[in-house]
Every structure is written in C-alpha cells, then in structure tokens.
Amino acid sequence: MKFDTVIIGGGLAGLTAGLRLQQKGKSVAIVSAGQNALHFSSGTFGVLNEGAEIPENHPYMKLNLEGYLAEVIPFFASAGVVLKGNPLKNSWRITPMGKRQEARFFMEDADPLEGKDTLIGKKALVVSFPGFLDFNTSFLAASLEKSGTAVRIELLALPEMDRLRENPSEMRSVNVARVMDRAWNKVVSEVKLLLKGEDVIVLPQVFGLKDSAIVSAIRESFDQKVLFVGTMPPSVPGMRTQMKLKQSFEAAGGTFLMGDEVLSAEISSERVVSVKTRNLGDHALEADAFILASGSYFSKGLSATTEEVFEPLFGLDVNFSEGRSSWYDADFYSAQPFNNFGVMTDEKFRALKEGKPVLNLYAAGSVLGGADALRLGCGAGVAILSGLAVADAIAPESK
C-alpha cells in the first residue's frame, strides 16, 4: 500500500499533521495503537506557562510560534472543534481538585477565566450524582468558597443511572456521559428545581461525548452562567475532540488504521522506505514521507531500560543523560529530567539517527526531546504546532 505520508501515532500531533496534509491534497495513513493523551486531557490546550522561558533545544525554536498560534482556532474549526481563548495569552481553568491552572485554548465545555483569582460568581450551585467519586465536589466547593463564592452542593439521583451503579466500577465519567446523552435534559429540569438564587451552576464535564451541541443546549437552557469542570480521567471533552479530529481526517479522505501498531521499518540510503504493522502483516505501508508522532513513555514512543532511554521503532537519537539516577528527582512535584528526554531532530524536525537526519522521517509531538511538558505547560502546544510545522515541511505548497 502506498501513501504520500504515513503517520505513526493517532494522538493530537498525528491527527493535526494528518488533517493538515489531507487538507493540502496529500494521501495520508495514520497508524494508531489506541488511547492517547487526549483521553486524559484537561479539556484545555496549554502552549506555554506565563513567564516560562523557551529553552534553546525546545521544538518551538524550530517554528514560527506566533504565526502558527494564530492558525490554531481556525484549523480546529475546520475540523468541527470549537476552541476558545486568546492565542497569545493564557487564561485559567478550574481543575477537578478545585485548583486554578493556566492554558491557552479551551474546549467548548471548558471555561476560560481571565485571571487566576477571577470570581466565578456570588453564589454557585455545584451539581453531581450520588456515588460519582470522580468529581470531587468537596474539594471544588472548598476552593470556590476560599475564592469568595458561596457554594451549595446538590447530588442528583437519576433513575437512568441506576444501571451504572449495579457494577461498582462503572461510575466513571465516560459511562456517565453515555447516560447523559439521553438524560441531559432531565438534568436541566431537575437543576432548575434545585436553584435557590444562585448565579452560577457548576457541572462536571460529562455531557456531549459525541457532540458538543448538548453542551451548548445546556448553557442555553439557563439564565444563569453554566461552568463545566473536569472530572478524573478519562476526559469527555478530550475524547470528543479526538473523535472529531479523526472523523474530519477520514472525511477528508485519510486512512485511519485503528488498533494497529507499527512493528518494524525498512530504512535504505538514509530514507524510510516502508513500515510493517501488526494487522497488515507482510503488506508494508510505503510512503514518500513518514511522521513519527508516537508520543512519550506512556504511549511507548519512548522506552527505557535500566541503562538507556531509547526510541523503540527506528532507534533514533534520544537526548537522555547517563546513569539512571540522573533521570529523576526524589520529589514527585519537582521537574523530572526524564520529561525532557526525547527524539532529536534537525531544524526541519527530521529525526536524527546516529547524528544524521533520516531524510524523510519527521518527528512531532511529545516524542520530541527538549520539551518538558509539565514544567513548561507546553504539551498540547508542542503536539499541535509541531504537527502543523511538520505537515508544512512535507507539503510546503498550499492547495
């Protein structure tokens, strides 16, 4: 099978690059092993924490940062994903633990607050469901109270959720969201009865797994402000966004090989000729260009033994330090050096192998080295912007 470009990895970086290339008229196949960071999303995209300096070897140093940032909202709109936020300035969201976290772009059911201390309202009604442990109302309420908002918590017992409760491990955000696809308007009518003069309603992000229209419909049902706050993973807005991107990619003619995994690659004269996957067996995928968007350790884009951190598919160069005691910090919350390790590339994001670029192999997203996503808050930004940049490097001409 021959494509213009084959992308290894169906997460945010792979889908961004794939959709961009497909929009430019290229034929693209994405090989996706399964879940990715979008499933564990915060409902927002971070680009760079306020005040953080971009290190010398960071992927942003190889692309036109401001230019690409201006493209993000229209690009996602073309995929049917509504993003909010100022492309050049961070806003704040409320986390599932009630903390305030900065981010650049906000999915439809994430609500940008202007500042870290912005008051969400005078009186808030926080709504959850009995036994739904993954939406921590008490933490949320405590932090809202601290910021000056009076809070009342109400738990809605809906008979529609009884079936979920029969199995003790079913009460998770995605399962709740599946019920809410049918029962959301009942939540609206019940919440209306519960309101006692509150000016803001806080709901968990468990609405509109397939379509954010439910989110808008809920907002429109109330005169009050409605604020959606994240749950423990998995993330409903993240999964919806992933699904939308994939559908748009396929609608544009792309081939998405779901649940498949690249097992081996053939490299000849400094170029990748083809890759073989688990499901396709001996039928190799050939392409003019390849994009490695296989993610970090969690997605197995990077692996480690007791001796080294390596890129398992192509054996690309990784910027890890010698001696594994130098990979971590004993404090869980401090910067962990291993988060900075990843594949090294040239200025055009072509991956290096033994110091030399593989001429048609590009790397994008969290497999890249030099980007400590946790310290800099740049995880999604690196995925999206390097995805766009790599696509433009492969197909410089616009359609």
Binding site: A37, F139, L374, G379
Partner: protein, 539 residues
C-alpha cells in the same frame, strides 16, 4: 486492676506501634492491665511494614540458629490459628541451583527435622509442576511450611484487640522525655506531632518496644543497648508470579527469598549496616535494585521480565550481646531486658531483637516481666485466643458466611478484614462503589477503616485497606479516597495536603525502578497530577 486511676494513669505504657508494641499491648490488656500505647507515626511504619511478609517456617535458620528456628515454627503454627485472615498458607520451597552445593540439602533437612520443622525432599520435576515459576535448572527442592503474612493487617488486628480489651492507643504522639524519680521511671512526657500539644502519662512500668528507635528511647531513660541498624531493601512485583515461597537452599544470603502476598510478590533482601541518622529516611539505591533483580531472576527467571511495582527498605533492629560492644556477635534472637537488674533503672523494660514471626512470643516475654513487676499472676492467652477477624473458620469460607453470593469485592474485603468484613456496608450502591479498582476496595470498606481503625491520612488508609497498593500505585484511587477522608474529617485542606504527600510517598518507591513500565506509569501519573489536577511544586 484499673480502678481508681486518673485519666493519665496506667498500669503500663508501651512505646512503639509496630508489631511488637501492638502484640505487647494486646497481651497486657488481655491480662487485665490498663494499657497506654504511644506511637510517633502510624502503626506499622517501621520494620513491621518493611519486610517480606514471610511466615517463616524457621527453616532459614535451621542450620545456623536452632533456637530461632524452633521459635519460628512454633509461632508459625500459632499464627495459622490466631491470625487466619492475615496468613496465606502457601508452603515454601528451598531450592538448590547448579551453582549451589547439593550436599548442603542433607544438612538442611536434618537441621529442620531436629528443630521440629517438617522438611520433605521433592523431585525437581515435581517442584516445577507444583511451582511453574521456579528456575527450571534447579537440581534439588525441599518443601517446608513457609507461608505469607500481611504485617499491616496483623498489626492492626493486634491493636484492635488491645483496644477491645480497654487499651488506649495514641498514634502521632512522640515521647519527648521520661518522668523519673531518682532511678525509677514514673512515666513519659509526650507531644502530639500534629497539634504540638504536650501531655504527661504515668505508669509503674514502661515498655520500650520501639524497634531500632528503641536505642534512642533507652538512651533517653539512661540505658545503653548496643544496637546496629541493618538496612534491608526489597522489590515488589506487580504480579503474584509464584504461589509457593521460594528460598535458596544455602547459607542465608542476599535476595534469596521470593514471597507471594495478596496480588503481588516480594523479593529480598539486601543487608547493609547504616548509621542511625538514616533510619528515618531509607532510600533504595540503583545498586541494591540491580542486585535484587539479578539474584531474584535466579529463583524465578520470569522476574526479569515482570513489572516491578516499587522498591522499599526497612531497618532490622540487631542487638549485640552485652559483653560484646564491637557488634561482631550479633544475635537475631529475642532480647528482653529488665533495666532494673541490668542498669538499675526501675520501672523500665526493653523488648527488642527478634523478628516479625516471633512478635507474639516477644510480647509474651515482655508482658511476663511487666506482670512480675506489678505482682500480677495471670497466664498468657494470646496463643490460643484468635485475633479479631480470625474467629471464623477458613478465610475462603468467611465471605460465604456473611453474604449469600459474595461479589469479588466482598471476597476481597473478607480476605483483608476476615470476619470483621461483616461490619462493612455493601447495602447500597454508593457504599459498594469501588474506590480502588486494582485492589477492589469499596467506599464502605474505606468508611469502616476511617471509623474503626485510627485512620488519620491516606498512608494510614493504605496500610489498613491496601488502597493504592495495586498496579497503578494510587493514581486515581488516592484522589477518590482523599475526597472520602476530607468528608470524614471535615477538612478538605488537610485532605489535599495529605494527597500531595501520599503521592510523594508513592513516588519514593517508584523512582529507584523508574524504567520500563514503571516509567510509563510515572509519565501518566505526573501528567494527571500536574496537568489535569493542577498540583504544582510551587505550593
């Protein structure tokens, strides 16, 4: 006793909330004494919670230390009766590998039999059939009555029974000095480590059961015990690779015991002398990890490719003989010191040395001394009366006696709490919901632990219920449990602080093994806490 006492007066004060202190508190309380137990941290935080969890048959000591071996097998049989819900009767193998001397096996079997330990030579082929994970190159195997024991559960059950017999337990309370009158210890001054509140407690006898920290406690009372902290590092694997304990049939050495326990298995240990200053903060080094892995794979080759869950280390309280200040003549036996006859300090007893396996015997010996000092003549019953949770028949039967058709979560609860699982609510769907999916711990079990088992924080809760001990090491269940604790204690701020330190404590056991799947898990956990939940270092 216990008639006209003031609130701060007791018959006996026990310092140390490990298994020895807990056992001594139970024994003293069962003999009718008014007991106060004081622990600086939580129960089972020292060596009690940092070992293999091996129910020794005594075979390991048979050749080198017959006295210890005999004590072990006797206590082994007692624990099978009184602590059923803490014990897993797995049996054990002592295997001989090609590089070991097969002649040692003969001496080993003879020594076991002489100590009263059944030891049956097994054909290597049969050994492989019985325990498929064992190194297939083995040239000899001996079956002995080893097993596994959950030290947290055992300690909690002793504490609970002491309480049921009227003992008062003060955790997170530190002894700051002894109240002495001349050469007599009258009581202790303490401070509540959480509130800073100070208090004084009085009793005619104080028992020092503080493990390696007993060295400092004794010094505070004016006595010197020659102790040597010996660090032992261990690794927990994410699967129960073996179902039978596997030991090497040779002189005891590093990393030669693999013990199955609950859903995991544990390899250990190393042995290094460490300074006293390090006892409060043990770190496992890369060299120790490498040694444990190399030696462990010789017992069960599949360990080399099995995911490691965590690394941890404990400190053995080794005591040197009184006439040997050099520490060369180290005993692993029980050391019960009456400081009145030894040092002229009245009202003060130290119980140390020994091991998890012989805690009950240590407690009995210490309680005998206490009773003699108080002029009380009551015999010890701890060897015959079962611990709370162990009164019913076989552990596997317990869940069926409580529920007509127990769910897997109910079976798991009964496995941990024994007959006490009866008190755990599964009545409604909210209580039956799972907090921890890896270990199947329900909301009801967490609530029951918070109400009955002195749970102050998430780490305490983990020791009581196994929340956060499973494959994910507390990724999501810790947040859920923090929510429940916050509600129970009415303070989310404390629960949040607690959650932060719980994750740091989990990380301490993960970073020494941060490669492969552990690094994958760490990558994910860090993403969730930092990016999704918003926990940052700056706070």
């Amino acid at each position: 006793m216990a008639n006209n006492y003031k609130d701060n007066e007791f018959d006996v004060i026990i310092v140390g909330g490990g298994i020895t202190g807990a056992g001594t508190a139970r024994d003293c309380a069962m003999r009718g004494l008014k007991v106060l137990l004081i622990e600086r941290h939580d129960i089972a935080t020292g060596a009690t919670g940092r070992n293999h969890g091996l129910l020794h048959s005594g075979a390991r000591y048979a050749v080198t230390d017959k006295e210890s071996a005999t004590e072990c097998i006797e206590e082994n049989m007692i624990l099978r009766r009184i602590a059923r819900h803490c014990v897993d009767e797995t049996e054990g193998f002592f295997i001989t590998l090609p590089e070991d001397d097969l002649d040692y096996q003969k001496k080993f079997v003879e020594s076991c039999l002489a100590a009263g330990i059944s030891a049956e030579v097994i054909d290597p082929k049969d050994a492989i059939r019985m325990e498929p994970s064992v190194n297939p190159d083995l040239i000899g195997a001996v079956k002995v009555p080893d097993g596994s024991v959950d030290p947290f559960r055992l300690c909690a059950a002793n504490m609970l029974d002491a309480k049921l017999h009227g003992a008062k337990i003060l955790v997170y309370t530190e002894v700051t000095s002894f109240i002495k009158e001349g050469d007599t210890v009258r009581g202790v001054k303490v401070v509540d480590t959480k509130t800073g509140q100070e208090a004084e407690y009085y009793a005619p006898v104080t028992v020092n059961a503080a493990g390696i920290w007993g060295h400092g406690i004794a010094a505070m009372a004016g006595a010197n015990i020659g102790m040597f902290p010996a660090k032992g590092a261990l690794l927990i694997f994410a699967h129960r690779v073996n179902s039978i304990v596997i030991n090497r049939c040779r002189k005891p050495a590093n990393a030669d015991i693999l013990v199955p326990g609950d859903t995991v298995c544990v390899i250990g240990t190393t042995s290094t002398k460490v300074p006293f200053e390090e006892c409060d903060n043990m770190h496992v080094t890369p060299d120790e990890v490498d040694l444990l892995l190399t030696e462990g794979a010789k017992l069960a080759p599949s360990l080399a490719s099995t995911r490691i869950l965590r690394a941890y280390a404990g400190v053995r309280p080794l005591v040197s003989a009184d006439n040997d200040p050099s520490g060369r003549n180290i005993s692993r036996g029980i050391v019960c010191l009456d400081h009145e006859t030894r040092d002229g300090i009245k009202g003060f007893v130290s119980i140390t040395g020994g091991k998890l396996m012989t805690y009950r015997l240590m407690a009995e010996q210490a309680t005998d001394v206490v009773c003699r000092k108080l002029g009380i003549d009551r015999s010890c019953e701890t060897a015959v009366i079962p611990l709370p949770g162990s009164e019913g028949g076989k552990t596997e039967e317990v869940s069926k006696k409580i529920w007509a058709a127990p769910t897997t979560a109910q079976k798991a609860s009964a496995g941990r709490a024994g007959t006490r699982a009866r008190g755990i609510s599964f009545d409604n769907s909210v209580d039956a919901a799972l907090v921890c999916e890896c270990e199947e711990v329900s909301v009801g079990e967490v609530k029951s632990a918070i109400e009955n088992l002195e749970v102050h924080n998430l780490v305490d809760l983990r020791r009581r219920t196994r929340v956060g001990m499973g494959t994910c090491q507390g990724e999501l269940c810790a947040c859920r449990a923090a929510g429940l604790l916050g509600k129970a204690h009415g303070c989310t701020e404390r629960a949040e602080k607690d959650l932060r330190s719980f994750m740091n404590e989990r990380w301490k056991g993960m970073y020494p093994i941060a490669w492969g799947n552990t690094l994958r898990e760490a990558d994910y956990t860090q993403w969730v806490y930092n990016q999704v939940l918003g926990f940052n270092v700056e706070e």
